[in-house]
Each structure stands twice: as C-alpha cells, then as structure tokens.
C-alpha cells in the first residue's frame, strides 16, 4: 500500500512539473515568397473597342497605370487582405468564374457564409453610375474595394487603418510601391487606388457577340440571331445593350428592379429593389440572383415565364401593383435565347494572365 501511495505522490509531482506554458510558433520567412510577375508590367490601360483603341479611364482625369494595376492585381490575389490570411478578393471573384463565385453564398474568412451572392466584377467602369453591390450602396470604386476587407463576415479586418500596416510589412510590395510612387510607403489611399485601377482594368469585350459587331467575318448563327430577337423583345427593357455593349440597364433612370422573386423580400436590397446585373459572361456566373437561388439559366428563364410573384415593389415591366405579369416565351424561344446568351461569354478575360494570380 505504501508503494501505491508513493507512486501516486510521484504521479502528482510529475503532473505539476510537466505543466509548462505552450511555446509560441516560429514565423515563416517572408523573403522566400516569390511573385510570378513579368519583367515589364502587363498592359492594362488600353481598351480595344469597335471604335478602335481608346484609353480605359480610371477617373475622369486619369487613365489606368500599369504599375498601379499590377499592385492592384497582387492585392486582389493576396490573402493577407483577410485578417486571418485565409481568403483574398479572388476567393469570391475567381477568374475562372468570370470573377464571380460558383456558390450561392461565398465563405468569409472564418467560413461563415456571406449574405448575398458575389456579383461578377468585370466592366466595373461601365457600371459605376449604377453603384456597386446589389444595393448600390457604394458609388466610388475606391470606397467599394475596402468594403469587403473591412466586413466582419467577409475579410474581417473591421478597422481598415490596420490594413496598410500589414501590407507594408510584406517585403514583396516594397519595390512595387517604390517603382510606382517613388517611395515604399503603403497607404490606404494608394491601396484603394491600385485595387480600383486593377478592377477597372478587368474588361470583358471579346465575346462572340462583341466580335460579331466588330468583325463582319464573325457572324452569329441563325439560332443565336433568333435568340437576339427574343432578347430584344423580352430582356432589353432592363438588360439594355448600351453603346459599350454593356448588358445591364443603367442608361438613365432604371438601374434597380424587383423581379418578383418573393411575395415578401427577406432581403430588402435597396428599398425592395436590387441592382440589375450585367449579363456579360452570364453562363459562367451561376448561380443567379442576389441570393443565388437559381443554379442554371433555364431556371432563371422559367422564373420569368411562370415564377414572377406579386410584390409591393414589383417592376412596372412585370405589371407593378397590377402584376405579376409573366413573360411569354415558347420553349423554342427559350432555346434560342440560351444560345444567344452563350455568345456573351468572353473566354479571354477568364484566361488572360494579366488578370491571373501572381502567387
């Protein structure tokens, strides 16, 4: 029995002695991180249109700067912009999905779902007048770029003044800021500008439909042309084809609409309305709507054919308070329309290395 007691006492002592504090881990070597960048920066500032070459403007008085857009590209793909280094902007706006996300709700820095479907972010310059996000709450690209970074679900920083400090401590940015601004100082303003310039440079203008307008040798098939006529009859009231071939309605008055998804909107959007999105690369940006409820384009079209519900904010195009009116499209017309919508896909923007990850 004495042996039992002695061993018990020894056990107790060993327990006491073995309780030491946990050691903090070593930090990674930041100098080992190499970026995949070209010797000369990519060309970001030239937008080729049917009217010939033209500068892509960043603001009314300036054009896209290749060095700034390059920094913006790195920031866009840098997971350091999330508080726990788990996600980057590209996590929810991936190039292969035409800068949208393939799920109804993206996952934030802690794996929590975001509240709305991630919109695609091509041709943001063209849609600036409508405002950014589904409710258009941001009107300037510089404001928009930091909103997800600060968001407590998305990238989690909360207080944005910490972001430049963190980026400034990453050695791979120093030479880039030095080249671009003459010193290596990372400021919030510079970061906003670089991100904004990169985002504005993501221009999709090489779809089959674009090419058919620019080059007489590229012709839409008969089915696609029928689809265009169906589109013009049913869709263009909202998804207008503007001078820049931007398939969203922001011409003058209507940039937001309620399409009768629900009788009562769980998400109030912008006073019951939601931004009318561009249809560029629409077949690559599923799922659809602000809550990603439709997985496929046929589901979307079925909604317009038979699923529109009465809603206090229903668009006048669907009858407004007298509605809901459904769109009449035969099955054949739906097939034609789907064929036409496919011509809005731009495979170049989804593969262009200047928009790809440098990590």
């Amino acid at each position: 029995m004495k042996q039992v007691l002695a061993s018990g006492t020894l056990f107790m002592l060993s327990v006491l002695l073995s309780f030491n504090c946990t050691k903090l881990p070593d930090q990674p070597d930041l100098n080992a991180i190499k970026l995949n960048l070209p010797l000369e920066p990519f060309e970001y500032n030239i937008l080729r249109t049917s009217a010939g070459n033209k500068y892509l403007r960043y603001e009314d008085s300036s054009i896209i700067d290749n060095n700034k857009a390059t920094i913006g590209r790195i920031l866009f793909y840098d997971k350091a912009l999330s508080i726990n280094n788990s996600i980057s902007c590209s996590s929810c706006h991936s190039q292969e999905n035409a800068f949208a996300d393939a799920v109804p709700f993206s996952k934030g820095f802690e794996g929590v779902s975001t509240l709305r479907n991630s919109m695609h972010i091509t041709n943001l310059f063209d849609s600036r007048k409508a405002g950014y996000f589904w409710d258009g709450r941001e009107s300037r690209i510089e404001e928009m770029v930091f909103a997800p970074i600060a968001n407590h679900i998305e990238m989690g920083f909360g207080q944005i003044e910490f972001i430049p400090e963190k980026i400034g401590n990453l050695p791979y940015y120093r030479s880039l800021f030095m080249t671009c601004y003459g010193d290596a100082q990372v400021t919030e303003k510079r970061m906003r500008e670089c991100l904004g310039q990169f985002l504005y440079s993501i221009v999709s203008e090489n779809s089959k439909f674009d090419k058919s307008l620019q080059n007489p040798l590229v012709k839409l098939s008969e089915e696609e042309r029928w689809g265009l006529s169906v589109f013009e009859r049913n869709c263009m009231s909202c998804h207008a084809i503007t001078d820049d071939n931007e398939f969203s309605l922001w011409r003058d008055t209507i940039t937001y609409a309620n399409i009768g998804l629900d009788v009562n909107d769980a998400d109030k959007g912008r006073n019951g309305l939601y931004k009318i999105p561009s249809l560029r690369n629409v077949s690559k940006t599923a799922p659809y709507m602000h809550d990603g409820r439709f997985k496929t384009l046929p589901e979307v079209l079925n909604h317009y054919r038979s699923g529109i519900k009465a809603n206090p904010n229903l668009s006048e195009h669907f009858g407004g308070k007298q509605g809901p009116w459904q769109l009449y499209m035969s099955d054949h017309e739906v097939d034609f329309l789907l064929a036409f919508l496919k011509t809005l896909d731009d495979d170049e923007v989804t593969k262009d290395p200047k928009f790809s990850s440098p990590f």
Binding site: V4, G8, L16, T22, P28, N85, G111, L170
Partner: protein, 219 residues
C-alpha cells in the same frame, strides 16, 4: 443532466445491493493516509468535454491524511488537448492545458460499517491556457486565452468500503468561484492590432451531481 442523474441513481442502487451483504467491520483508523484516485470519468461525454466542468468532474488524484474524524486532502487535476481543423483550407490548431488544485478539509459525519459520509470545505484554483495558432504562408497568428479561477467549495462525500483498504467514493460539490479571462492576440505583421485584453471578473455558483467515481486506497 439526465445522464448524470441516471448514472448517480444506478450507482446508488448498485451500492445498495452490495450493502445488503454483511461483511466484516474493518473499523476506522484514527490516523491514516489515503489516496483518492479517479476511476475514470463516468461515461458523461458532455461533462468530460466541457472545460468549465473540467476540475469539478475530473479530479485525477487526491492524497489525503486523516486525523480523528478530520481528513485533509489536496485534489489535483490536469488535462491537455490538441485539436486541429481547417477554415477555408487554412490550418488552425488549438492547444489547451488546464490545471487545477483543490485543498480540502472534510469531516466524517457518519461511519457505519461499510458506509462513510463526509462533509467538507475546499479551496479551488483553476488555470486554463488555450493557444490557437492560425498558420499561413506569411504569418502565424496566435490567440491565447488564459483563465484563472479561484473560489471555494462545500461538498459531501459518500464512501463505500469494498475492503479494509479500498473504498469507492462519490462527491456532491457546490462551488462558488470567481474567474477572469485574459486574451492575448498576436498579429506579427500588424503589431498595432496585437492586444492583451483583460476581462472582468465573473462570479458563478455551480452544483454538480456526481459524474465521477473515485477509488480510495488507504494504508
């Protein structure tokens, strides 16, 4: 809680069955040394994995000395746990260490053959240190929370003597504690964001139905 009650009742019933068999009276030594050892946390998953209940349900070992009807003991508990998981494919690791001490003094109320009933007082000290590391290519973020809890307890113990030197024991404790949490966050790339936050003291009263069976070895 239901599982706790069922276990407790089952234990009492089994004791009752055993006590039906009259055995020898081994008497009671006026001075003795004992070692109370946890016979393993009873089946209760919820209690076992609730850090707040850690000490109260998991005393691992308690050396005791009795003088006349008084028994003095030093309860000791310790636990380590490691968990790893991923968020957005990013590795998270939690290392947790907990350590508890409880000096006790109990008084023998009833001594009837195989049965002994004690009541007592104890002081409680719990320390828990949890370190979360979030690793990435650019930095390893650490978040450490330390909880220091102090307090006292009033308890009752029921012993059933299987033999002259071996008893089974159950404990019904009531705890009054004061706890404080200190959270240290370290962001190597963003030192301004690193912080140490000391929480306010919180007070709580806890009562536990026995969820552990002890083996008491006596000299």
């Amino acid at each position: 809680m239901k599982a706790n009650l069922l276990l407790f009742m089952a234990f009492l019933l089994s004791l009752n069955r055993i006590s039906g068999h009259h055995g020898p009276d081994w008497g009671y030594k006026k001075r003795g040394l004992h070692l109370m050892i946890s016979a393993g946390p009873a089946i209760l998953h919820t209690v076992r994995h609730n850090p707040a209940n850690f000490f109260y349900s998991r005393i691992l070992v308690e050396p005791q000395f009795n003088f006349e009807r008084y028994t003095f003991g030093l309860g000791l508990a310790k636990r380590r746990s490691h968990t790893a998981f991923t968020v957005n494919n990013q590795p998270y690791k939690d290392k947790s260490r907990q350590f508890s001490l409880m000096p006790t003094c109990s008084y023998l109320l009833v001594n009837s053959g195989r049965w002994q009933v004690y009541t007592g007082l104890g002081l409680v000290y719990n320390y828990a240190d949890t370190l979360r590391t979030i690793s990435s290519d650019i930095e390893v973020i650490t978040k450490r929370s330390k909880i220091v809890e102090t307090g006292c307890s009033v308890f009752g113990r029921i012993h059933y003597r299987i033999s002259k030197r071996i008893s089974l024991a159950l404990e019904l404790p009531l705890y009054l504690t004061r706890a404080r949490t200190v959270v240290e966050e370290n962001y190597p790339l963003t030192p301004s964001m690193s912080s140490e936050k000391k929480g306010r003291y919180t007070y709580q009263t806890m009562f536990f139905i026995p969820s552990n069976i002890f083996l008491r070895l006596s000299i």
